[in-house]
Symmetry: C2
Subunit: 196 residues, 2 copies
Amino acid sequence: MNFLEERILKDGIVKPGNVLKVDSFLNHQMDIGLMEEIGREFHRRFSDKQVTKVLTIEASGIGIACFVAREFGVPMVFAKKSKSINIEGDVYVAEVESFTHKNRNQVVVSKKFLSPEDHVLIIDDFLANGCALQGLISIVESAGATVEGLGIVIEKGFQMGGRVIRNLGYHLESLAIVDAMDPETESITFREQPVG
Amino acid sequence: MNFLEERILKDGIVKPGNVLKVDSFLNHQMDIGLMEEIGREFHRRFSDKQVTKVLTIEASGIGIACFVAREFGVPMVFAKKSKSINIEGDVYVAEVESFTHKNRNQVVVSKKFLSPEDHVLIIDDFLANGCALQGLISIVESAGATVEGLGIVIEKGFQMGGRVIRNLGYHLESLAIVDAMDPETESITFREQPVG
């Protein structure tokens, strides 16, 4: 079991409806030491890649992506969920459906910050049905840039998102893959992964 | 002139309507080295405070707040802008008006993450009319916790937010205070501040 799986077992809370609450350390309150460890782990897993930018989506991906970008020594860009008057018209756009909020958002990245020369590592906290990641992939492809890989903190292995993205041929690394959760027994089953 | 003012002059863009675009290094693409320097500077300016939590609001405050929290060795909590089904009912709520998006949001923080024992440093990227900061102050006070100070990256000194918060007696530090901007000449006038 890796450091993240241990932390999920210690502080994660399983709720009915396949909800895993990790808001005490990951996506509401953030344990900064854990963020740094996550940054180092993604750097290790993608150490063979020439990464020029880390891309994530607001909001809860930002903190994690910051520490990944720090390890690679590159800028971090976060996609914004609604068109702000402070973003210029020249943007890449993708439509993203939110599992959590049950709505659709336009996600935008300014064309200034992604170019065909960029090699992009996409980072996010959760992967379930994969809509957010597909939107980010679409934005990178629109820019003519290269998706070097995708790093996810927690993948819900019983939903389709991870399978779809791996089937498309992308290098996807999830630090923890939850294959099953039981709110009654509070048990979590992680998929076995090779230890690096 | 400090490191941030220099960077604003170098890469900030003045737009009509008192808009200062800093999206190439602060709130869309993030220069991680700059974020770390901002974290160290806030730690220096609030070094006499006993900070137990750093509080910000999604989305663009998160990256900055992470690096401030790292310097203090404490957790970071970010207020969420809409009630998510993943946040439990037990939350502190404030109403916040957005100058950028011209709408009102409910901002929530789970009661689990702020207690009367907490000494909170509030961090955000921009201060204009101060609605976001007032909402965060209100949330900290609701929790019975102590506001140790407020750290802002860029304050628009020609708007009321900073004056109101200082008048209320809070310790507010802004790394750059813009007193005037002229989109025609692309000039920016910073308020003189004591060098630490």
